[in-house]
Every structure is written in C-alpha cells, then in structure tokens.
Amino acid sequence: MEANIAVSSEKKPTWGGGGVRPFGASYGKMMMWFFIVSDALTFSGFLAAYGLTRFKFIDSWPIADEVFTHIPFIHGEFPMYYVAFMTFILIFSSVTMVLAVDAGHKMNKKKVTWYLFATIIGGLIFVGSQAWEWKTFIKGSYGAVKTTDGKILQFVNESGKQIALSDFVVGDRGDDKVTQTRKNGLWFESGESVGQYSVAQVISSYNANPSIQIRSEKIDLDTKQKIILSREKGAAELAKAKLVVEGANLEVNEYGNTIFADFFFFITGFHGFHVFSGIVINIIIFFNVILGTYERRGHYEMVEKVGLYWHFVDLVWVFVFTFFYLV
C-alpha cells in the first residue's frame, strides 16, 4: 500500500484524501465538481438529442409558446409567464443557497439555518410547479385528431385562432361506445377508456360548420406560423383521421410530434428528479446544521458542496428553459 500512494496516510484521516489538497481544493469539493462535469455532459447529451430531433423535424416542430400557455387558477392564454415564474423561483433559491454558504464562511449558524430553509422551500415550490406543468400538459388544452399517416390536425376558427374540440363538436359519438366500469356489474376485460368524441363525430361536425378550418403541423418558413388548410384540403386530410387525441403522453401528443412530448417528459423529468434529490440532500444538511455538526467540525464546507450541486441544478434549468421554451 505504501508504495502506491504519494503521501503516507499514517496518522492522518484517510477519508477525504488524507488532507492532500491538489489545486487547493478539498477532496469532496473537487469530486463534486467532477461529478457536475459528468452530469453536465449527460444533460448536454439529452439536449443535443433534442436539438437533433428538432432539426430533423424543423418544418413541423410544435411552437413552444402555443403549448405552454397556462397559469394556475386563471383561464386564458399566457405564454411563458408560468415558466418565467419557475425560473425566478429557482434562481432565487440559488441566491439563498449562496447566502447560506457565505454565512457558513462566517460561522453564523443561525443565518445558515434560515437561508438553507428558504432554499428548501424554493426547491419544493419549483417541483410543485413542475408537477402542475406536467398535469396541464398531460391533460391538454384543445384536443386534436391524428391521421393514419401520423399527422396531427388541429382546429381553428375563422380568425385563425385555435379552438377546442368541445367548442364545435356536436351530437353524440354515434357508435354507442361507453367506458365500462366494475360498477356496471359487467364482466369485462380491462381496455382503453372511450373518449368523449369519436372520429366520425368530429368529421361530421367539421362538415356541418363552415367556419372551422384545420391547421396542419407544417410551418410556413416566412411567417413561422403553422399553415392553415383550406376547407377542401382540410376535409381530405380529415378523411384520414384515425384517432381523437386529447392531451399528451408518451404515445400521442395533441400539440404535434409525439417525440416532442417524449423529450419534454424525459428532460424536464430528469431535471425534476435532480431538483428532488437536491431537496433531499439539502434537508439532510439542514438537520446537520441544526444539530451543530459543522459547528463542531469547525467549518461549513459541506454546505458549500451541496450548494454546488444546487447551483448546478439551477444552471441546467437555465438551459432547459432556453431550449424548450424560448428558442
């Protein structure tokens, strides 16, 4: 063993590199940085894959500020405001974290405790907001129709504004299908639930209402708007419809390309998981601070190390925010 290590670890604490500090950084801090590098590369891999896919479908990609338009408790369309709020929460919790680190340098236990507490609250608000954002995305806002060749058809009124299926679809499904439940006292194989509208119903409602037009996924490169089809072309596309889509999941997506939803769930989910684990780590450190662990140890470097992780989570969000919602 002696031959393999540069510095004898005898009579020194071996955990943490035996007090050796290359580049003047402690073992723990250096390893946190190297972990962050590898984690940054993981996220870059995801975002670059998102970029590749988006370039692949550059003429039909969903327009983000038409997708994420909701804020809690208020009806209407408010693109971006809610994600902007989430971004602020995360930046602010980063600030309270760096203030906790700063108070730690001054050995001010009370301030470290309160700032760390604020950081945890900020993290919880962020994860909660993200859960709400997921719920809204899964539930959907307008509903659309998917064709046999995999295109999504949305519906607009005469002023070109998107409208929901419930705004124009009339009549009943026309096929007497209902979702059976155990309460009906029937023996049944479990199956997919039957949606509110059938394809035939949507087609007949479209034909009956001449003010409705169909919006395709295709983007007009001159205006960067989705192309709205003429009534005749719309009817021809609608004839290929096979599925009424409401909301988004890993298999269908009313806002457009399914892979957009896949990336959304995967990347924001992976980031959300990082935030969640960051909160757990922060809570552990928070209790250690209260118990006086770092007071006895003589320094608050542990707060600094989890702080690095927390800032990294914020850093990743800055990029996710840009490439998912802005660009």
């Binding site: 580049f23 940085w33 891999g45 971006m80 974290m97 295709k218 960067k224 702080g307 914020d314 925010f321």
Partner: protein
C-alpha cells in the same frame, strides 16, 4: 477568502441576482413579443434565437463564476472543469446538429403535407 471582504460578498450576490433577473425578464419579454424583424430574420437561426442563446450563456457564466464560486478556484482547477465541459459539449452539439440537419434534408422531401 470570505473573511477578507465581509459585506461586499453579500452585496455582490444580490447584484448578480439583480442581473440574472433582468436578463430573464428581457428573455421572457422578447419571447412573448417576438418582434418580427428579430424573429423572421437571421443567419443560421433567427436573431431572436441568437439573443436567447447568448443571454443564456451570460447567465451560465454568472451562475458558475459567482454562485458556484469558480472565480475563486485555482486557475488550472477551473480550466480542468470548464475547458473539459465546454470542449466536449461543443463537440457533441456540433455533430448532432449537423446530423439533424442532414436527416431533415434527406427525410423531409419524402413527407407529403
């Protein structure tokens, strides 16, 4: 380190917070308004997208340098982390985006709209 300049540290943290907030507000405002001359023109991608990307890098710089205290680390430790990450990320993104563009050119003509 922190003992030397006690209150200026806290002041600087709030300054950076203000800066990050302003940058975010500008981004969101541009994202909502989407002025046509920025949104519809540009080289490579729209000017608006370039503005977003540059502002994002500005934010990333301030988060890393101030909040993560990279400015206080030894020069070569900083370089070991930053250069490695930046080089590999640029490499990966360049290759994947070129490939994405190629896929579009190859596959898009096959789609009938």
């Amino acid at each position: 380190m922190a003992h030397a300049h006690d209150n200026s540290n806290v002041k600087r943290i709030w300054m950076v917070f203000g800066l990050l907030s302003v940058v975010t507000i500008v981004e969101v405002a541009l994202g909502i308004v989407k002025p046509d001359f920025l949104h519809l023109n540009g080289i490579g991608t729209s000017w608006l997208n370039w503005i977003f990307i540059i502002l994002t890098l500005v934010k990333a710089y301030y988060i890393t340098w101030t909040f993560m205290h990279m400015e206080g680390e030894k020069t070569w430790f900083r370089r070991a982390v930053v250069w490695t990450a930046v080089f590999l990320i640029i490499y990966l993104v360049t290759l994947l985006l070129i490939e994405g563009g190629y896929l579009f050119e190859t596959l898009a003509p096959l789609v009938r709209w």
